[in-house]
């Protein structure tokens, strides 16, 4: 009969993870943008801003869950959209497209992007992009302007 208390590894694990975070640095930097109770600035697509591309970058956030827009970056759930305007539909080598997109002969331009984003499955039946329609016309135009700005001649 052993007299020393042996901590089972499971408990030890719990203890270790507990101990591991007692060394917490203090807040390094705290940026207070606004206090609660202060009116939040109203952000609406087209509300008083002239920079369509900046608006588009903001509006693109709904797409950012599945798409990155960054030269050379690894695709996430959806293909990397850097260079998409002017790229063959289904044209990113490293991404595995649905048959609907892989089989298309077309090239993305601002006009067909507008049709696609308004109703993805309507424009390209069989697309994997089940979510992500942008019904708002202005938001769509802004997103497309932003994407067009993120397209270099070399595409990828």
């Amino acid at each position: 009969m052993r007299n020393r208390v042996i901590l089972a590894a499971g408990l030890l694990t719990v203890m270790v993870t507990a101990c591991g975070s007692t060394e917490q640095p203090a807040v390094v930097e705290q940026i207070v943008v606004r206090d609660r109770g202060e009116a939040a600035p109203v952000v609406e697509a087209g509300a008083g801003t002239t920079d369509l591309i900046a608006m588009g970058e903001d509006a693109f956030q709904v797409c950012a869950g599945c798409h990155v827009v960054e030269a050379g970056a690894r695709s996430t759930a959806g293909p990397n959209l850097f260079g998409v305007v002017g790229r063959k539909i289904g044209g990113l080598e490293s991404y595995s497209y649905s048959d609907a997109l892989a089989g298309s002969e077309l090239t993305w331009d601002e006009a067909n992007l507008d049709e696609f984003l308004a109703d993805p499955a309507g424009y390209l039946p069989g697309t994997d992009m089940l979510a992500g329609a942008v019904r708002d016309e202005e938001a769509r135009a802004a997103i497309i302007a932003y994407l067009a700005n993120q397209s270099s001649p070399s595409g990828e």
């Binding site: 719990v14 007692t22 640095p25 609660r36 939040a40």
Partner: protein, 750 residues
């Protein structure tokens, strides 16, 4: 060290555990032989009343049960509910001993308070060897761990233990004691002998005098009665609720959207702000610079905080916080770890195993002379197995709501360890544990993930820094990539067979040994010469117990390798195992029943084959047969049969649900589970690349249960998992002749 020295007197090779059987047998036989099992000394309901029975008409009878004026009996359960059914089945056990009407039983989550630490559970986690103690030591260990457990925060849900510790050794006793107290109160009031009072469906009846009353009438007087700490418990033939598939009490709220999980907490009277966070991509690194210019201009943003080891954006809604968080540029410090890819990690393992060679490393278990027997064996086989890192990926991403104000802190979250979470918050934000309240919610899955509380401390820090009540939610990407993990590992295995093909020598060496200690030992098999060794190696990703813990990788290693031995012997894999289970009657019965229900001995259709595996874990023996269809060239899972012996099953349908779940969890890991590394950071981020088995890929599952009798009750949550992967890879071998020694499977058939 798990001593494999054979003890021929014991019926089971797992001799070490027969002592625990003594305690269990005492309870199940219902004899007065209960030895000091923990019910609170005295009956401290005075202090607890305001915490757990503050409603009008509610009366706490003992710490574990209250009865209200409508005769509703509420069981106060000290474990969390994460889908394993602990809330309902523990209440079922108390209600049975109490003779309560099941329709009028409710469940209440016990508060996160030291009063609710259960000695038996505490011992199981902290000092499992004490569960084998001599009878005369029971009261000592029990008393010690009631106190020690409190100071060590051992209010834990995990290890497939809620029913076999708290259920058997706390809830039942509390129910039986409460019943006696109610009878005592009625006997006093009616002035009749207590022995003449019967109880049934929350009613007290004295036939001779015609007196009867609902429990509610005597709840208050009952609380003043002396409490028997070792009441007589029901024998199996007396069970009315235990052993039955009573419908779970929490299911109605889980089908109409009203069940509150951690992420749903909306504390009364508090206006919440929301936080999104980013943690280091490579473990152990910290923020060196932060560019939040874009985030500052985004809608809803309140604050952006560099907390050193994570960054948080606090906003008016979680979505706004996450949108802004996505735009914050963060530079991280350089990691010192040399491991950048999984090749590097496996090279670290290989180096440790190379160092151990054929006989080196720490001896985890030994019997006979494995090196000698291997050298003399007629046939030897050897293999190297690998297993990847795996994420827990509960459907509810990690989250925590925290409020720090006036020197106090309130936390709402889903956790498996509320007291440890409380201590971690206390040491993190410098508020005393007594001024911190953990409000426990339902867990949207945990699988061991919520045994660590770093996320709770993070939320507390953000709440303290901002002064706001903050709900912090991890994105699925954070939950997948910045977490704690099932370890990867590598195992080198050797077996020696004699001329008849019998397995006479077994040796394995691997690098990861966490918990439970016996997971790496093929103890149930008659292998005369066995050596199990550990050559420790460092993990790049931090470890966290993952459903079935070491059994998850060791089950794959051992049961695949036993299958290789069977193949080398030219033997049927199931019969080969049976031939080595001559001293394990329960394992034998399980395999024989499995052979029957799976039609093991019938030839399979063309291109289809079956594989078998058997693993005993957490007190339950589970054997599985999986049938795979390889006609398309890729594995299609058609059928799975499982037979389980847990000694006795408290709720058969609930038990089956857990085994089905363990099988699906194990098959998901087997088919798809893998985390790759690039520059030391995890590549997979969400369910599109950390893939899950879905409705269209799960096999039919049939689970049969054997109640083998007076053995300790075994667990349900984890035991279904370990046999799944090896049963599948063994089936693939049977169908194709291809032996898979690495997981996951699907990518090997592209």
């Amino acid at each position: 060290m798990n001593d494999l020295s054979p003890d021929e007197k014991k019926p089971s090779k797992l001799a070490k555990w027969s002592r625990r059987g003594f305690i269990g047998a005492g309870v199940l036989a219902g004899g007065g032989l209960l030895i000091g099992i923990g019910v609170r000394p005295g009956n401290p309901i005075g202090a607890l009343g305001p915490k757990v029975a503050a409603g009008a008409g509610e009366q706490l009878v003992n710490s574990w049960v209250k009865i209200d004026t409508d005769n509703i009996v509420t069981a106060i359960v000290p474990h969390c509910e994460m889908g394993q059914g602990a809330h309902s089945v523990l209440a079922q056990m108390l209600a049975d001993e109490l003779d309560a009407s099941w329709d009028n039983v409710r469940v209440m989550q016990a508060p996160a308070d030291g009063s609710y630490v259960v000695s038996d559970t505490a011992r199981m986690f902290a000092a499992p060897f004490t569960l084998n103690a001599a009878d005369w030591l029971e009261p000592t260990w029990d008393g010690l761990f009631t106190q020690l457990g409190k100071s060590m925060d051992l209010l834990i849900t995990g290890g497939s233990s809620s029913i076999r510790t708290t259920g058997q050794h706390q809830m039942r006793i509390a129910g039986a004691a409460a019943r006696q107290m109610l009878i005592g109160a009625a006997a006093d009031a009616w002035e009749v002998p207590a022995e003449e009072i019967a109880t049934r469906d929350s009613m007290l009846v004295h036939e001779a005098s015609g007196n009867s009353a609902p429990y509610s009438e005597f709840a208050s007087a009952a609380a003043d009665q002396p409490m028997d700490h070792t009441p007589t418990l029901k024998t199996r033939d007396q069970y009315r609720l235990m052993g039955r598939s009573k419908a779970r009490t929490d299911i109605p709220a889980k089908i109409n959207g009203t069940a509150e999980f951690g992420i749903d907490a909306v504390p009364d009277g508090l206006e919440l702000s929301y936080a999104a966070v980013v943690r280091p991509p490579v473990p152990g690194t910290t923020v060196t610079s932060m560019d939040a210019n874009r985030a500052e201009g985004m809608s809803g943003v309140l604050q952006i905080l560099n907390m050193g080891n994570f960054v948080a954006v606090v906003a008016d809604s979680y979505w706004q916080a996450q949108q802004a968080m996505n735009t914050v540029g963060i530079e991280w410090s350089q990691s010192e770890s040399p491991v950048k890819t999984m090749d590097d990690q496996f090279a670290v393992f290989a180096s440790a195993l190379d160092g151990a060679g054929d006989t080196g490393g720490d001896q985890a278990a030994a019997r006979g002379d494995a090196p000698g027997a291997l050298a003399d064996a007629a046939t030897t086989i050897d293999a190297e197995y690998r297993a990847p890192y795996l994420a827990h990926a509960p459907m509810e991403p990690l989250n925590c709501t925290a409020h720090v104000a006036d020197g106090k802190c309130d936390i709402w979250t889903s956790t498996q360890v509320p007291l440890m979470a409380r201590s971690e918050v206390a040491s993190t934000i410098g508020i005393g544990a007594d001024d911190i309240t953990i409000h426990q919610q339902y867990l949207g899955g945990a699988f061991g993930r919520r045994l660590g509380s770093e996320y709770v401390a993070m939320a507390a820090r953000v709440a303290q820094a901002t002064g706001y009540p903050v709900k912090m939610i991890w994105s699925r990407e954070e939950d997948t990539q910045k977490a704690l993990y099932r370890c990867a590992d590598m195992s080198r295995m050797r077996a020696g067979l004699d001329e008849s093909g019998a397995l006479v020598a077994y040796d394995s060496v691997f690098t990861q040994r966490h918990d439970p200690a016996e997971a790496c030992v093929p103890a149930m098999y008659d292998i005369a010469n066995t050596s199990v060794r550990v050559a420790e190696a460092e993990l790049h990703l931090p470890f966290q117990a993952w459903r079935s813990v070491d059994h998850s990788q060791q089950g794959f290693f051992i049961e695949s390798f036993i299958d290789e031995a069977a193949a080398a012997a030219g033997a049927d894999p199931l019969d080969y195992r049976l031939s080595m289970l001559t001293n394990a009657p329960r394992h034998t019965a399980v395999l024989e029943k499995l052979a029957e229900i799976s039609n093991w001995r019938e030839p399979s259709a063309e291109g289809t084959a079956k594989g078998v595996a058997i693993v005993e874990s957490f007190g339950t023996i589970v054997a599985e047969v999986i049938e795979v269809d390889m006609t398309s060239g890729k594995p299609v899972l058609t059928n799975c049969w499982a037979v389980c012996d847990a000694g006795y099953v408290m709720n058969p349908d609930g038990f089956r649900n857990q085994i089905e779940g363990g099988i699906v969890f194990g098959l998901t890991a087997a088919m798809y589970g893998e985390l790759e590394l690039e520059d030391g950071a995890i590549v997979q981020s969400n369910f599109h690349d950390y893939k899950m088995l879905r409705m269209n890929e799960v096999p039919n599952i049939e689970v049969a249960l054997i109640n083998s009798g007076d053995v300790p009750v075994g667990g349900a949550g984890e035991p279904g998992l370990p046999p799944a992967a090896p049963a599948l890879t063994n089936a693939i071998f049977a169908a194709t002749g291809t032996r898979l020694r690495e997981l996951p499977i699907a990518k090997q058939f592209v």
